[in-house]
C-alpha cells in the first residue's frame, strides 16, 4: 500500500454512465491485476474503491460507473486535477494456476480489472479469452480494447441488442474449452459462474469498506478457511473457499 497524489491526465465518457479516467502518479505499490485503489474525494468522508483497469509505468487507468455522489463527482473532474489515492490494495488475481487457456468473465463494471489481467496472462504466454456481459448494447464498453489484445472476445447482452443474447454463463457454455475462470461482476453473476463453470477459478467480490486496507474489519466475509477481509485478503477469492 502507498498513499500518493495522482494527477488526472484524461477523463472521458465510455457510455452514458461509465467513465474512463487516466491518471499519472506513483503506481509502484500495484503488483497484480485485480487489485484496487481507494480514492479520497472532496467533502466525502470515505474513500471510493475502484479496480485497476490498466497500468503502464506511471499511467493508471480506472473505469467507473457514476452511480452516486462519489463517482458523479469523479465524472465531473478534469485534466490536471489532483486526487489523493491509496494504491496497491487487495490481493489481486493469482495467475499461477490458470492453465493455458483461462476464460475471463466480467459483468458491467466488473469488466475493467480483467483488462490488466488479460495483458498479464498474454505476457505469460497464455491464451486467455474473455466474456463481457452487459444489459444492453448502449452499455457495452472495452470490446474493442480486448479485441485489440488479440484475444477471443465474447460480448453478451441481456436484451440481445449486441453480441450473444443472454448472460455471461450462456457464452461460457458456448465459448469452447477453458482451463480456469477469472471473474468479476455483480454477486448474482459470480454465483452463476461459480455454479456453471467446469473448472477451478477466482472470483472478485465487492463490499462496503471503511478503510480498504485491512484495519477496520468493515468488509469481512466468511470463507471455508476462516474469516477474510475483502479489502486485504480479497477482493479475489478462490472458488474452493467461497461460501455463498
Amino acid at each position: 500500500m502507498k498513499k500518493e497524489i495522482f494527477t488526472i491526465v484524461s477523463n472521458r465518457k465510455l457510455t452514458d454512465s461509465v467513465f474512463k479516467m487516466t491518471l499519472c502518479g506513483d503506481t509502484s505499490a500495484i503488483t497484480a491485476p485485480g487489485q484496487f485503489v481507494n480514492i479520497e474525494l472532496e467533502g466525502l468522508y470515505l474513500r471510493r474503491p475502484i479496480s485497476v483497469c490498466d497500468l503502464e509505468g506511471e499511467r493508471l487507468t480506472l473505469i467507473y460507473k457514476a452511480v452516486g455522489k462519489g463517482t458523479e463527482q469523479m465524472s465531473a473532474m478534469g485534466k490536471g486535477e489532483a486526487l489523493d489515492i491509496l494504491t496497491g490494495l487487495g490481493n489481486g488475481y493469482d495467475t499461477a494456476n490458470s492453465g493455458a487457456c483461462p476464460v475471463l468473465i466480467g459483468g458491467g463494471v466488473g469488466v475493467p480489472p480483467l483488462y490488466l489481467l488479460a495483458k498479464k496472462l498474454i505476457g505469460e504466454g497464455k491464451n486467455p479469452k474473455v466474456i463481457l456481459g452487459f444489459n444492453t448494447a448502449l452499455e457495452v464498453f472495452y470490446e474493442d480494447e480486448f479485441c485489440a489484445l488479440g484475444i477471443e472476445t465474447f460480448v453478451t447482452t441481456v436484451d440481445g441488442s449486441h453480441g450473444i443474447k443472454g448472460f455471461v454463463t450462456d457464452a461460457l457454455k458456448s465459448c469452447g474449452e477453458y482451463s480456469y475462470t477469472f471473474s468479476c461482476g455483480p454477486e448474482p453473476m459470480l454465483k452463476a459462474v461459480y455454479n456453471e463453470s467446469l473448472t477451478d477459478g477466482q472470483f472478485s467480490f465487492e463490499e462496503r469498506m471503511g478503510c480498504g486496507f485491512g484495519a477496520c474489519m468493515g468488509c469481512s466475509c466468511k470463507t471455508k478457511y476462516g474469516y477474510k477481509r475483502i479489502c486485504k485478503d480479497g477482493p479475489v477469492l478462490e472458488k474452493g473457499e467461497i461460501i455463498w
Binding site: 463490499e207 486496507f213 477496520c216 474489519m217 469481512s220 466468511k222
Partner: protein, 303 residues
Amino acid sequence: MVNTEVVLSGITLTNPVIPASGTFGFGAEFAQLYDINILGSLSFKGTTVEERFGNPTPRIAECSSGMINSVGLQNPGLKAVCEHELPKLATLYKKPVIANISGFSIEEYVECAKAMERQESVGIIEVNVSCPNVHGGGMSFGVDAKAAAEVTRAVKAVSKKPVYIKLSPNVTDIVSIALACEDAGADGLSLINTLYAMRIDLKTKKPVLANKMGGLSGPAVFPVALRMVYQVFEAVKIPIIGMGGVAAAEDVIEMMLAGASAVQIGAANLKNPVACKEIIEDLSRVMEKYRISSLSEIIGGAH
C-alpha cells in the same frame, strides 16, 4: 522546544496520540506506511473471550463528516490475540499498549482482564462497556451506572494494571456513569465510544447496514465528545482519554483543554492511514502557534 509528554496512571507517553480500538487492527497495516513507534500508545482491536465474526455485512455506512460501523467486535478471540496478535504487535511496537476488552457477561470481562494482566506489553486495560449485557436483559453495560460499576469492580479485582472504563455516549447522564466507575475503582476513563445511528439506502429503501443500526464516529461527533469530556472532567479525579472525531493536532489540543490527558484517534485512521503520524508531526507547530510549551499543562485548561 515544546514538550508533548503526558502521563497516564504512571505511564509516560511521548505524546498523547493513541490510535483508537477497532480502527488500527493490531498495527500491521499501518506499520507498512510509517514507524508506529512514534505513537504515544496504541489501543488494539476489542477482544472477547471467544472468536467473533461480528455482524453481517454491509457493516459500514457513510455520513456527513463521519461514518457508521456495525462491525460487532470481530476479533480472533482472547487466546489467539494473546498467542499470535500480541507477539506480532510486540515486534512492531515497543511501548506499552492498551488492551481493549469486551464481554457479554461479567465473567467474560474478568477472563479477558486476567489474560491481559499476564501480557507484558499491556500497559493499560481499557474496558469497553458498550456491549449488550446478555444476563441483564440485553441493555448495554455502559448505559447503566450500576452495571458499569459492577464490571469495573470485577475487572479491578483481578487487575494490577491500571483499568480504564470506556464509556458509551448514548446516555442521558454521562457524569453519573463516570462517577459510578470512579467509585468502583476505575483508574481512568476513555470516552466516547460511537453514537448510535443509522442510514437508509434510497435505492433499496432499506437500512444500509445489515444490522440496521451502528455507531457513528468521525468529526461529526467531535462537539458531543468534547462536551462529555468537559463534563466528566469536572466531576471525576481520574484521568480521561478523550476521543470522538479527533482528526488534527488542533483537535488534540481542544480535547486536552476540555480535560483529556491523552487522545485517541479512530475513524481518521481509516480515511487517512497516516493520520496519526501527521497529527504527531503537526503537534509542535500548533502548540507554538497557540503558545503552549507543555501539553500536560493544558489538560482541563478550558475550565
